[in-house]
C-alpha cells in the first residue's frame, strides 16, 4: 500500500497492532519487508522497537524513513530524559514523534506508539503527523483485516497476558490474506515493571507462544 515499487524503495507492507490492556500495552507486527508487497526482501524484520524505558512503537512504511526516524526519536527522548525527570510520558513521546514526522518532507510512515508512562496508552500517528489516542490501533496494508478481528476480540478489561494472544491472532489473520505481511512476528509486552520483546520465526509459532500464557504472568480468570 505504500506503493513506491517503481522507485525500488523497500517497504514494510505490514500489519501492526497496538492494544491497551488493564495492566499494560501490547504491540505486535509481522516481520516481512518487501518491494511493493510483491517481492520479499527480508523475512525477519523487527518492526516493533523500544524508544524509551517503557515506550515502544511499531512502524509501517518505508524502511529507510523508519530507521532514520527511530534514531532521531531515541535521541530526542534521551535528551528529554536528561533535561527533565527520566521517563518521558507516552503523550510526550507521541508529540515528539509527530513533530519529527511533520518536519520530514515526504514521510512514508504509519506508527503505532504505545507504552506505560505513566498509564497504559496507545497512539496512532499518521504520515501527516496526526496523533490520536485509541484503545486499539492498527497500521499497514493488513490494517483492515486486523481491525476486523480486533473489533470483535478486543476487551479493554483484559490483561496483557491475554492481549498478547489477541494481538498475535490479529496479525496472524491479516497475514492469511495480505500478501505484504507474513513470515514471522515481533510482540512487545509493556507493563509498569518491564518492556519485553519477543521475536518469532514463524507466524504459527508466534500464535502458539502467545496463546500459551507465560508461567510468570498472572492468569486472569
Amino acid at each position: 500500500m505504500h506503493g513506491t515499487d517503481s522507485d525500488g524503495i523497500i517497504t514494510t507492507g505490514t500489519t501492526t497492532v497496538g492494544l491497551v490492556g488493564a495492566d499494560g500495552v501490547v504491540l505486535a507486527a509481522d516481520s516481512r519487508a518487501s518491494l511493493g508487497g510483491r517481492f520479499v526482501t527480508n523475512r525477519t524484520a523487527r518492526k516493533v522497537v523500544p524508544v524509551d524505558d517503557r515506550t515502544a512503537l511499531t512502524f509501517a512504511g518505508s524502511v529507510g524513513d523508519a530507521q532514520s526516524f527511530v534514531r532521531r526519536l531515541r535521541a530526542e527522548l534521551a535528551l528529554y530524559d536528561m533535561d527533565h525527570e527520566p521517563g518521558a510520558s507516552v503523550d510526550t513521546a507521541a508529540t515528539v514523534a509527530a513533530d519529527l514526522i511533520r518536519r520530514d518532507p515526504s514521510p512514508q510512515l504509519e506508527l503505532v506508539l504505545g507504552g506505560v508512562a505513566p498509564e497504559p496508552t496507545v497512539y496512532q500517528i499518521d504520515p501527516a503527523g496526526g496523533v490520536m489516542d485509541a484503545p486499539i490501533a492498527a497500521s499497514g496494508s493488513g490494517m483492515q483485516l486486523a481491525y476486523g478481528y480486533l473489533e470483535d476480540a478486543y476487551d479493554p478489561e483484559q490483561s496483557v497476558a491475554e492481549l498478547r494472544a489477541v494481538a498475535a491472532m490479529a496479525v496472524r489473520n491479516a497475514t492469511e490474506r495480505d500478501t505484504a505481511s507474513g513470515d514471522g512476528m515481533t510482540i512487545a509486552t509493556i507493563t509498569a515493571d518491564e518492556l519485553e520483546r519477543e521475536q518469532y520465526d514463524g507466524i504459527e509459532r508466534a500464535v502458539s507462544a502467545a496463546t500459551t500464557q507465560p508461567a510468570d504472568s498472572e492468569v486472569a480468570r
Binding site: K47, V49, R72
Partner: protein, 289 residues
C-alpha cells in the same frame, strides 16, 4: 586612544596575545575555575568515580538545585567547576554531542572523543571574535566498551541481527560486560588531558597531591593497583575533605557523587548517582579513621 591604553589592550580582547605570548583572558578564565567549588575524578578498575563539593550558602537553599555532576549519556557524566552558568552550557553541548554521535554513527560516543570534541568547542571560543572563553572546566568521566569476548566464542552470523531493520545494539547480557574506564580534564583554554585521578576548582593542588599519595603511594612510577569502586569513592570523598578545613564537614547535603561503571545486568545504564545513604556511610567511615 592614547599609548598607555593601547598597551593595555592585550588583556581586554582574549584573541590578542600579550607581548610575552600569553592570552590573559584565558588565564583569567582559569582563575574563575580555581574559585569554583572542587570536583574530583578517580579511575578504578570497576569504573570512574566523580565527586564534587556543593556550596550550599544558606540553610534555605535547596541543595538538590546545586548541580555539579551531570549525566550526559548512559555511560558518561561531566563534573564541573567554575562559573555554573557557563558550565551548564558545556553540559548541554556535551549531551547534544552524545546524541549526535549516536545518530551519525549508530554507536555511543567514546570518552576521549567527547573530551576532544568539548575541547574543540571550548578552544573555538578563545580564537573567534565577539566571544569570551568559558569560565568553567569539566571532568569527563565514563566507560568505553571493553575488549569484546573471545573471538572464537563470538556469535555466529546467524545470531547477529544483520537482518534487523532497526539498529538497536543488543545488550551483552550473556557474557560478562567488561569496561574501560577513562577520565579526562578539559580546561578553559581548550586543552584536554587524560588522568587516573585529578581535580578541578578550588584546592586542586592539595587534592591532586593527596590523590598522588593515595593512588601511587607518592611514587609516580608505580602502576595504580587494582582499585575497587568502593575504595575509589572513599578516596574521592577523602580528597574533597582535604579542602574542607574552613568549611563545615562534608555531608550528603554538601557533597555529590556519581559512578560510571557496569550497572544491573538488565540495563544498559552505566551512570549511577551515589545515594545519600551510601555517602553518609562512607563519610562516617572516613571521619572515624
Amino acid at each position: 586612544m592614547n599609548t598607555s591604553s593601547r598597551q593595555q589592550a592585550y588583556d581586554r580582547g582574549h584573541t590578542i596575545f600579550s607581548p610575552d605570548g600569553r592570552l590573559y583572558q584565558v588565564e583569567y578564565a582559569r582563575e574563575a575555575v580555581e574559585r569554583g567549588s572542587p570536583s574530583v575524578g578517580v579511575v578504578t578498575s570497576e569504573g570512574v568515580v566523580l565527586a564534587a563539593r556543593k556550596r550550599v550558602r544558606s540553610p534555605l537553599l535547596e541543595p538538590d538545585s546545586v548541580e555539579k555532576i551531570h549525566r550526559v549519556d548512559e555511560h558518561l557524566a561531566v563534573a564541573t567547576a567554575g562559573h555554573a552558568a557557563d558550565a551548564r552550557q558545556l553540559v548541554e553541548a556535551a549531551r547534544k554531542r552524545c546524541q549526535q554521535h549516536r545518530l551519525q554513527y549508530g554507536e555511543p560516543i567514546g570518552v576521549s572523543v567527547l573530551a576532544s570534541d568539548l575541547a574543540d568547542h571550548i578552544q573555538e571560543q578563545t580564537q573567534s571574535g565577539g566571544t569570551r572563553p568559558y569560565g568553567a572546566a569539566v571532568l569527563v568521566g565514563g566507560v568505553d566498551p571493553g575488549p569484546g569476548p573471545d573471538p572464537d566464542s563470538s556469535p555466529t552470523p546467524d545470531d547477529r541481527s544483520a537482518d534487523e531493520i532497526e539498529s538497536e545494539p543488543e545488550h551483552e547480557s550473556a557474557t560478562e560486560r567488561t569496561v574501560q574506564p577513562a577520565l579526562y580534564e578539559v580546561d578553559p583554554g581548550g586543552t584536554f588531558y587524560g588522568w587516573r585521578g585529578t581535580a578541578i576548582g578550588d584546592g586542586t593542588a592539595e587534592i591532586r597531591s593527596f590523590l598522588e599519595t593515595e593512588l601511587d603511594g607518592g611514587d609516580s612510577t608505580a602502576e595504580t593497583p587494582s582499585l575497587t569502586r568502593d575504595h575509589g569513592l572513599s578516596i574521592a570523598l577523602d580528597a574533597l575533605a582535604t579542602t574542607a578545613a574552613d568549611d563545615r564537614p562534608l555531608s550528603p547535603t554538601t557533597v555529590t557523587a556519581r559512578v560510571l561503571g557496569p550497572g544491573p545486568e538488565s540495563s544498559s545504564e552505566q551512570s549511577t548517582p551515589v545515594g545519600d545513604d551510601e555517602l553518609e556511610r562512607v563519610l562516617a567511615a572516613l571521619e572515624s579513621d
